[in-house]
């Protein structure tokens, strides 16, 4: 059985099935049945009947709770639903027996009622709990899903704050401070180098260069790197989060918010049960058929009339009640005029049963629409938040990478190389000093570098990758025009995309022994979609590709699918540059 979160039958398999709230609903329905049917039909004082009712209620609840315990460990949904349905029937039979015995002992129920009690009680328990469970369990299910989405949203929001503050640290504070602190000593160095006309001057410049490297660059990079890791209190912005509480729809369509099978299912079970038990099979069938036909007819007319009309909730309830009253009144009149009714109150009983069931069904339908909309809205916000976070993760990776490359890599490497080069200068060589100065300037300018592809087009990186692996694996690619434009426009995205491709190519060859790899890149609304297929081994690919932290950091989602003779990595990278800090 496929579990549908709001399908009444599937809801019996949910963890919320037959929760305590259902007993409250059943309490109300049983009291109504007592007032409508038993006292009117059999007489007796209310206090004695209430004792019978209480005994019956406690028995029913105890039996149902017992069956819930018995089915608790059953993981197969179909089996669990079957067990609970059987449990409801057995609880009903026991209820019927206990109610009969108690009523008989108190002189309220005659001996001839035994069969009726044994037949009607299971159907009553089954239909009442089935209906109430549909409402209660679907609400609890909705609440649980909404809570999950809400907490996920909160978590995403906190992560976003965290990413944003990290990004700001990496991209702004660090760069600003680096430039600020480096500019003075570099200016001094430049001056020294420009005025170096003899070996002493060059030596002096060398010492300055070394002191910059040892006393400025290194401590600074330590200090700034440590600041990235400081534990920052994350401010919860839950007040800005959308509320999960269900928003009822302003308008509803009557033909879509009244599930016919639920309404007629419960109506027929309850009415056939009472009429057949009180008269005979033949008379019961005739009564229910005659009574229900006009109800069905008006139900269909109502659906047809309002098929394209959106009504406000009060109007929907009014029209639904009106059509129910008219249909059941005609049905009741027909039954009574043919002398099929057993009790004098049949006309009123028919109308009240139909109105109660129609209203319940409509409320259920309206709540479902509201819950679905609430969940859809939350899911949409969550998916947008995921995009933002994914994009921020990319930006953070790029920022850290750029910083690592330029501050710890290029700048230090340049200064080290220059220092050695200067130390080798036996005599002043103005031309070489000029070259060194140019290198220093170039190195410093890279601190502000946002050129994530180092001036290369994305395609040339793929060519490099292809050339590198040539002879081991054939790499081919196809990039959709829209994706190509995006990659040209957003170099950060291009760099991240290339890293994902590079990593998966390495994994496919190294761990999956792939010899042919094809790459497809497409652009969808908010993301780039990567499909990287290879002819390697599935198990090995899976073992190594999925756990890659790099993939998790750069991608919105990653999945590895093994088909016959082919392994496909599907990755999504978030777009929307406006989210980037």
């Amino acid at each position: 059985m496929r579990l549908n979160r709001f399908n009444p039958l599937s809801l019996l398999a949910s963890p919320h099935a037959l929760s305590w709230q259902n007993h409250v609903v059943f309490f109300g329905l049983a009291i109504l049945a007592l007032g409508f049917f038993d006292i009117d039909r059999l007489g007796g004082n209310f206090a004695s009947w209430f004792v019978v009712f209480l005994v019956g209620f406690i028995t029913t609840v105890s039996m149902i709770e017992l069956f819930k315990r018995l089915t608790k460990k059953k993981t197969n949904p179909t089996l669990r639903v079957s067990w609970l349905l059987a449990g409801l029937v057995i609880a009903g039979i026991v209820r019927g027996l206990v109610v009969f015995e108690t009523g008989f002992l108190l002189g309220l129920i005659p001996e001839t009622e035994l069969l009726y009690r044994l037949m009607s009680a299971p159907l009553f328990v089954l239909s009442a709990y089935f209906l109430s469970n549909a409402l209660v369990a679907s609400f609890l299910s909705f609440r649980e899903q909404a809570n999950n989405l809400s907490s996920e949203l909160e978590r995403l929001n906190l992560s976003r704050n965290s990413y944003q503050s990290d990004l700001q640290l990496v991209n702004q504070q660090q760069r600003n401070r680096v430039q600020e602190l480096l500019s003075a000593p570099m200016w001094e160095l430049q001056k020294k180098l420009e005025t170096a006309t003899n070996p002493d001057g060059v030596r002096d410049a060398l010492l300055t260069m070394q002191s910059i490297n040892n006393e400025v660059i290194r401590p600074l990079s330590h200090e700034l790197s440590a600041s990235v890791g400081e534990q920052k209190p994350l401010v919860s912005t839950s007040s800005n989060l959308p509320q999960w509480r269900p928003a009822l729809p302003k308008r509803v369509n009557l033909s879509q918010t009244q599930p016919a099978w639920l309404f007629f299912g419960v109506l027929l079970v309850l009415s056939l049960n009472s009429q057949i038990s009180l008269s005979s099979v033949n008379q019961g069938l005739q009564t229910v058929t005659l009574g229900a036909l006009p109800v069905a007819l008006f139900f269909l007319i109502e659906r047809w009339l309002f098929r394209n009309v959106e009504l406000t909730i009060p109007a929907a309830v009014t029209f639904s009640t009106l059509f129910g009253v008219v249909g059941s009144a005609i049905g009741g009149t027909l039954v009574q005029s043919l002398g099929l009714s057993i009790t004098d109150l049949f006309w009123w009983q028919a109308i009240s049963l139909v109105v109660m069931l129609k209203t319940t069904t409509l409320v259920y339908g309206i709540l479902l629409v509201g819950w679905q909309k609430t969940l859809q809205r939350l899911a949409l916000v969550n998916s947008q938040q995921k995009l933002v976070n994914s994009r921020l993760r990319q930006q953070l990776w790029l920022g850290q990478k750029a910083l690592a490359m330029e501050l710890h890599g290029s700048v230090q490497a340049t200064l080290q190389a220059l220092a050695i080069r200067l130390s080798r200068m036996q005599e002043t060589n103005l031309q070489e000093i000029q070259t060194i100065l140019a290198a220093v300037r170039q190195s410093l300018s890279r601190i502000e570098n946002q050129e994530y592809l180092a001036g290369q087009p994305f395609n040339s990186l793929l060519l490099e990758l292809r050339d590198l692996w040539e002879g081991t694996a054939e790499i081919s690619w196809q990039i959709e025009d829209a994706a190509k434009q995006e990659l040209e426009k957003d170099l950060g995205l291009a760099r991240c995309t290339f890293e994902v491709i590079r990593e998966s190519v390495t994994n496919a060859v190294k761990h999956g022994s792939a010899s042919a790899i094809s790459i497809e890149i497409q652009r969808s609304e908010n993301m780039l979609k990567l499909k990287i297929s290879n002819n390697g081994s599935v198990a090995e690919n899976q073992q190594y590709s999925m756990g890659s932290e790099l993939m998790e950091q750069l991608c919105l989602s990653v999945a590895l699918v093994g088909k016959q003779g082919e392994v496909v990595l599907l990755a999504e990278l978030a777009l929307n540059p406006e989210f980037a800090v």
């Binding site: 490497a413 590198l468 590079r502 932290e549």
Partner: protein, 216 residues
């Protein structure tokens, strides 16, 4: 880009994206009698291998936006296992590139740039690779005194997540484990790093240590 024409000299390919350092390394090696070719990225290096058939390669791991030095070494190990590889890098070990220790093969040398004090140390590492005699001395990635050496890759990954500001619950979700298991692992990490568990905030100290060592 061949710099010398010594007929019998051994040929070294220097792969380094920083042109100044590349130039310096080339000059140093030439001065020691090697024939040197250079390449700025992995694809150029692959072409240079075809063109000049080097005996060994001196490879930086971070080569800019394209394929990495580790990618290049992987290709060379498959296609030309006879060519020796010496990694010359700022990274303490391959874990900092998200790779495991096996990314560097037994017959490859791994030298940290900050640990090289003279050209002769580099030459010794190249000689070791050429003679297939790589010892621990030339494997700085395995040195017990390297930063965070006492941590396993899994522990290092967890520490990285802690450094990224993730909560124990978030780490547990990412690692697919329980919060209790994460707490236990973090305690072991703190102990391995020699941090006082009773101090005011060992978590902050661990994060600071991680960033400090990573920056080295």
């Amino acid at each position: 880009m061949s710099k010398a024409s010594t007929k019998f000299a051994r040929h070294i390919l220097v792969v380094e994206d920083e042109h100044l350092l590349r130039d310096l390394l080339a000059r140093t090696l030439e001065a020691m009698g090697f024939v040197v070719s250079t390449a700025a990225n992995a694809a150029d290096a692959k072409r240079a291998v075809k063109a000049s058939d080097p005996d060994a390669m001196l490879v930086d791991i971070e080569l800019g936006p394209g394929p990495t030095g580790l990618d290049l070494a992987e290709v060379i190990a498959r296609q030309r296992p006879d060519i020796g590889v010496v990694f010359l890098t700022n990274l303490p070990d391959p874990r900092f590139m998200g790779k495991d220790a096996k990314a560097v093969l037994k017959n490859q040398a791994y030298i940290r740039k900050s640990a090289v004090n003279s050209g002769s140390e580099l030459i010794d590492a190249i000689e070791a690779v050429l003679k297939d005699g790589v010892t621990k001395e030339y494997r700085h990635d395995l040195a017990s005194n390297r930063p965070l050496a006492q941590l396993s890759k899994r522990q290092l990954d967890t520490l990285k997540l802690v450094a990224e500001g993730k909560t124990n619950q978030q780490i547990a979700n990412l690692r697919g484990t329980s919060v209790r298991a994460v707490e236990a692992m973090i305690s072991r990490i703190f102990q391995a790093l020699g941090l006082d568990l009773g101090s005011s905030n060992p978590r902050v100290e661990a994060v600071a240590l991680y960033h400090k060592l990573k920056a080295n």
